[in-house]
Symmetry: C2
Subunit: 169 residues, 2 copies
């Protein structure tokens, strides 16, 4: 029983430390740096804050939306972020042709997790508000995951997302 409790305790410690939010009391006297919306995924991109905002801009601008789910303490997210932020072609197309949103917390919209909630995960949404479940990476068990070596695939998927489901007007 003591062992079980210890395990639970360790899990709780791990969860709370891994979530990466600084404890308010420990940093109270230091000057904090305001948090940015880019979080290192491209400071020069214009990031939406919320999914609702992103959908608004996608519809308004008739642009596809790219939603990146990630976590600060996930090494796969970190290495994917580095590739994403440093790839000039990805950054250029993301800037010119996409509405971009990066999230560390899941939304209530189940459509954004077609095969589960994991990170890193990149989901495209058509300006018609349809999640492009057809635009996938190369991993059968995590269809919307990308590895740093998948930059080319991500680029070609971005091109796919630019071909809209319906061409209205």
């Amino acid at each position: 029983m003591a062992k079980v409790l210890l395990s639970v305790f360790l899990v709780l410690v791990a969860v709370s430390s891994s979530l990466g939010k600084p404890e308010k009391n420990t940093v109270k006297k230091e000057k904090r740096i305001p948090q940015t919306l880019s979080r290192g995924w491209g400071d020069q991109l214009i990031w939406a804050q919320t999914y609702e905002e992103a959908l608004f801009w996608a519809r308004k601008g008739n642009k596809p939306l790219m939603v990146i789910f990630h976590l600060e303490d996930c090494p796969h997210s970190q290495s994917m972020k580095k590739v994403f932020a440093e790839d000039k072609e990805i950054q250029r197309i993301a800037d010119e042709d996409f509405i971009v949103l990066n999230l560390m917390y899941e939304t209530t919209d189940k459509h954004l997790s077609p095969d589960g909630q994991y990170v890193p995960r990149i989901i495209f949404v058509d300006p018609s508000m349809t999640v492009r479940a057809d635009i996938t990476g190369r991993y059968a068990n995590r269809m919307y995951a990308y590895e740093p070596t998948d930059a080319k695939l991500l680029l070609s998927n971005m091109q796919k997302a630019k071909k809209f489901l319906k061409t209205e007007l």
Copy 2:
């Protein structure tokens, strides 16, 4: 008819210019300043990005949540923001005892607009995830609006929000 069209056009122009998102093409060559989550409501506060994230922290930290709805081009929002950011007591209590979130786009949760969607509007949420519709400002037609002269009322409402609906454990 021409008049109607003109009005519609003017409204569209007003809406698109008022939304305050810079046109990408016009700023493409300039270096952009990364957008912050505080948006001037207190750079030293730790702001949640989304409502889902804010609820997570409210539950986890057993703290009430303060959601501020505002718009960049709304003079009432701007003047309230100035008061909020410059009032040391509001900032201190917000930092120590609250999870804070400021939003420019409505969420899909209707509970966050008990008497409609307008700005500025401040809604408190109990850590039990209940919207505190009982904590209101002084305007009967916009019950969750605050004017710059309402700083004291806002402070006393923050104190109210700190008295939880249910004391669990």
